[in-house]
């Protein structure tokens, strides 16, 4: 998902007998749905895993602005431009809510920025694909934000208070994102032949990367088992992916567009769609830095950070100077 490669630390889930008193008390709180707050005792593994999960999520929101930012100046109408601008601004906000939530665990904003810019931290694979046409703005809102919602809604009920509260704010804002994307697709799909072809082309390019967003199958992973026990993950990757396919295929049919998967077929027995195999080699290559736009995305973030250095420093100096003046006047 927005945090696709989070490996919970530790070797499997401890039984109650293996836990010490702190750990048992901690697990009891989670099992009773009592939120864990920043200053509460928590196992080191929980802290470490959450730092990684929340910062990856934040980085994804921030890098996620770039593919859509690419079309702000070329939106087809002034209305579409203001909508896209608002959507991208929301994503910046999501990044900020999440960075703050991660900071409560004892990692600084600068540390997280450093991890992103050095390539050490991961962000969602989906943002390393190029946005070639205006229809990509439709496909991203509809599919990418749609997939993100699927994963973010349950996270509103996760065990860590600051993360859960950030997710509540984010979820309130996401539904606008998905709807504006679907609306773009709907207008194009009902437009001229060329417009319809543009919408189909965008669906062709974004469908498989959207399915990869949920991450590789993790039903048997020990890391996931730990995250389930800590209630910082509520559904398996395959479960969410299936839900996404079942929800999205009828929407594509409504649009009169073809989902680019010849194996896609309704399965009465499981009351869901069967779908084709995902190219996980591609996914791992993109995550490891070899996607079509990884260099460009990181380059843009590095440039923004470096170009802004003088500005960040000047504001600090200015604040100190003004504080000194104020003190002198008192």
């Amino acid at each position: 998902m927005y945090a696709q490669m989070v490996k919970a630390t530790g070797k499997g889930v401890k039984t109650r007998e293996q836990m010490d008193e702190n750990e048992r008390h901690f697990q009891d709180r989670i099992d009773n749905d009592i939120k864990i707050e920043a200053k509460d005792w928590m196992p080191e593994g929980y802290r470490k895993t959450l730092k990684r999960q929340i910062s990856q999520h934040a980085h994804s929101e921030i890098v996620g602005q770039l593919p859509e930012g690419n079309w702000i100046t070329r939106a087809p109408t002034l209305e579409r431009k203001t909508i896209l601008l608002a959507k991208v601004q929301d994503e910046a906000g999501h990044g900020l809510y999440l960075y703050c939530a991660a900071e409560t665990l004892g990692i600084s904003r600068d540390e997280m920025t450093e991890q992103l810019l050095s390539g050490k931290a991961k962000y969602s694979s989906i943002f390393n694909y190029p946005t070639l046409t205006w229809a990509d703005m439709g496909a991203i809102g509809w599919l990418v934000d749609g997939a993100a919602i699927m994963n973010q809604v349950p996270l509103q009920y996760c065990s860590y208070g600051p993360y859960a509260r950030a997710m509540v704010r984010i979820c309130k804002e996401e539904s606008f994102h998905q709807r504006q994307g679907f609306d773009i697709m709907n207008v194009l799909a009902k437009g001229s032949e060329a417009q319809k072809a543009m919408a189909q082309d965008a669906l062709n390019r974004w469908w498989w990367p959207a399915l990869m967003m949920f991450g590789p199958s993790d039903a048997d992973s020990v890391h996931s088992a730990q995250s389930f026990a800590w209630n910082i993950k509520q559904n398996s990757n395959d479960e969410l992916r299936q839900k996404f396919v079942d929800q999205t295929v009828p929407q594509a049919e409504f649009l009169g567009l073809n989902v680019p998967d010849s194996d896609l077929k309704w399965n009465d027995k499981k009351n869901g769609y069967d779908f084709g195999a995902i190219n996980w080699d591609e996914f791992f290559a993109v995550i490891a830095g070899d996607g079509p736009c990884n260099k460009e995305r990181l380059g843009a973030r590095q440039k923004a950070w470096n170009d802004g250095a003088w500005f960040r420093e000047a504001l600090i100096v200015n604040a100190e100077k003004r504080a000194a003046c104020k003190q002198a006047a008192e």
């Binding site: 200053k39 929301d90 809510y97 900071e103 600068d110 509260r165 600090i316 200015n318 504080a323």
Partner: protein, 96 residues
Amino acid sequence: MSQKNEWPLWEIFVRGQHGLAHRHVGSLHAADAEMALNNARDVYTRRNEGLSIWCVPAAAITASAPSEKGPLFEPSNSKVYRHPTFYDIPKEIGNM
């Protein structure tokens, strides 16, 4: 990337339009109070969520410690008579 130049952290409180008290909505980094206010407007009130914003330097907040939960809050647990439901009002009286 020098750690010491990181802008300080501010906690943000927003009062909505329905007369409720200011509520903590999150935090942000800013060089000074004026910038904190400007950023708070952009980050936390993009959809008309508030009519008033308070920015408080995070370092200025005194918080109760989780370890004091017992001594601080348990005494009120035993004082059930502080709640209206403690008292049986005769049926004949109706609502009170």
